[in-house]
């Protein structure tokens, strides 16, 4: 394991500062924009939509007519503000999709939490970069879960606090086999791939503009997790664990490490979970 722990700590601290700044900016901008949105709806005569029922709407499929929304950094906090604009025209189908997303995030949080209890991931002998990645990624998934649940509540749905029931069984079966960093990385790749591909599919299907924006802002981050994990897995498989460092030994990094993280020009959706799999029953 070769890494500069202090430098890595500084990098993460810096990124957290940027993140916090984005969250603050998000709150301020969203407050203004929510106000504008409410004014606009008032002008257009669009009242609050009916309360969504997450248990009765799962078969509805969005038509894709939604357009005109955007999202950005700080959206987790911003979505909370959207609670004030509950008139947002969401559909029951959107609630189920968002609950499923929250369920996937809950599972990721739990799984990374388990990983951190393993000595070769979270222990003193673990690779520092891998440990930092797992810690940071777990926190990011927690933020995603909060954001998805805030969006659910904005659409009058119930928060999803449980993990995805189907994948939870997969994780439960895999947990006793997690006896190496490679095994953990492979399980993480599976979960991140499922989440990212689910969100890519959802981004085109969601009707509520805020939900679409939120999902779109998360899907690429999960894909980045996949990219890093693919590179880590390749380096571990190639006996180059010492190359997992920040900064990496660029001059001697294997060529394939530069391309293994992004195998497809277009992101697949074949691993996407059913939209209602994680809906609150």
């Amino acid at each position: 394991m070769e890494y500069d722990e202090r430098a890595l700590g500084e990098l993460i601290e810096r990124s957290e500062d940027v993140h916090a700044d984005a969250m603050r900016a998000g709150r301020e901008q969203l407050a203004d924009l929510v106000e504008l949105g409410l004014e606009s709806r008032s002008r257009d005569g669009a009242g609050a939509g009916p309360a969504a029922s997450p248990t009765t709407d799962s078969t509805r499929r969005p038509s894709g007519a939604a357009a005109g929304a955007t999202a950005a950094a700080g959206i987790a906090a911003g979505v909370l503000l959207l609670l004030e604009s509950a008139a947002a025209a969401g559909t029951p189908g959107d609630v189920a999709i968002l609950q499923t997303a929250a369920a996937l995030e809950n599972l990721a949080v739990a799984t990374y939490g388990v990983a951190l209890t393993l000595p070769f991931i979270g222990g003193a002998t673990a690779n520092g970069v891998v440990k930092a990645f797992v810690t940071t990624t777990r926190r990011q998934h927690a933020e995603h879960a909060d954001a998805f649940n805030a969006a659910v509540e904005a659409l009058h749905g119930r928060r999803q606090t449980a993990p995805d029931p189907v994948l939870a069984r997969v994780v439960a079966r895999a947990t006793p086999t997690l006896r190496s960093a490679t095994k953990v990385v492979e399980l993480a790749i599976e979960l991140e791939t499922v989440a990212s591909e689910t969100y890519v599919r959802d981004a085109a299907q969601l009707r509520d503009r805020h939900a679409k924006a939120l999902t779109a802002s998360v899907m690429g981050v999960e894909a980045q997790h996949v990219a890093v994990l693919l590179a880590v897995r390749a380096l571990l498989a190639g006996g180059a664990a010492s190359d997992i460092a920040l900064p990496p030994p660029l001059a001697t990094l294997p060529a394939a490490a530069g391309r293994v993280g992004f195998p497809n020009a277009f992101y697949s959706t074949t691993a996407a979970r059913p939209a209602t799999e994680g809906a609150v029953r």
């Binding site: 004014e39 606009s40 002008r43 894709g64 085109a204 981050v221 894909a223 890093v228």
Partner: protein
């Protein structure tokens, strides 16, 4: 391109290469889905593109995003006047061209710019102008360039399907500054930093497009590309020694405004 002493034939490289081959197979599996999305858009474009947001609406949306770097902008065009439009309040996209078509052309032009820039970097490396080029960097540039070419081809396929000529030029609004920056690059770190900027612009633009496009199929195409651009970003950050995934939510900052499509040669064909 000059490589460092470590070669493709080391045992670890073989291990990694076998993983890469598996993924190349998976890559080809993603093409049919992309074709379906393109065809889907072509089928519905006649109606959907005409239902697209007005250019004014898109500008309002984009203005809100860029000004705040934040979410929402839900408002229809009627809410636009209060939004901080900034420089986006300038002239809109080419008159008479549906917004979804403009976005497709804008995307193609950004992809062309990426292909052009990576190509120039690889040529400079081959000519020995960038010093020693690590194998991982060369592999990154080659693979990323190929994927950007695929993205450009996808958008141009869309344009052809809906009756427009493909956009084969690099985005003129960005090309000048990118070329100027590239002229100052003397090593692979400089190339990686420039590439990071380009990839970040593309990713932010696609994130914007996902929520601004009206056609569900067009959204699907943008959504299938944005994560790939962000994967490029993560690996570039790693190469540069930065933490690869610093943001829990993808940023919109730096997204290309629709006005950067002004000079693109949209033509029926």
């Amino acid at each position: 391109m000059r490589h460092d002493p470590r070669t493709e034939t080391s045992p670890s490289e073989h291990e990694i290469a076998s993983l890469t081959e598996d993924m190349a197979d998976a890559h080809h599996d993603t093409y049919p889905a992309m074709r379906e999305a393109v065809d889907g858009w072509a089928d519905t474009e006649g109606a959907a593109a005409r239902r697209a947001l007005s250019r004014r609406g898109f500008i309002a949306v984009t203005g809100a995003m860029v000004a705040g770097g934040v979410a929402l902008a839900a408002a229809p065009a009627s809410a636009a006047p209060r939004l901080p439009l900034g420089h986006l309040a300038r002239r809109g996209a080419p008159a008479g061209v549906p917004l979804d078509v403009v976005v497709a052309g804008l995307a193609a032009s950004l992809e062309n710019l990426a292909v052009h820039t990576y190509g120039a970097a690889l040529a400079a490396a081959k000519a020995g102008k960038l010093g020693a080029v690590p194998p991982a960097v060369a592999a990154f540039a080659t693979t990323a360039m190929g994927q950007h070419a695929d993205h450009a081809a996808a958008w141009n396929s869309v344009l052809r399907h809906v009756g427009y000529a493909p956009i084969t030029v690099a985005n003129p609004a960005f090309a000048r500054s990118v070329d100027a920056d590239f002229a100052k690059v003397t090593d692979v770190v400089g190339v990686a930093k420039l590439a990071l900027t380009l990839e970040s612009v593309a990713a932010a633009t696609y994130l914007e497009a996902v929520t601004a496009l009206s056609s569900e199929s067009a959204v699907a195409i943008a959504a299938s590309i944005q994560p790939v651009e962000l994967q490029h970003v993560a690996i570039l950050r790693f190469v540069l020694g930065e933490y690869p995934v610093p943001d829990a939510f993808a940023p919109l900052s730096g997204a290309a405004p629709v006005s950067s499509a002004d000079a693109l040669p949209f033509a029926k064909g």
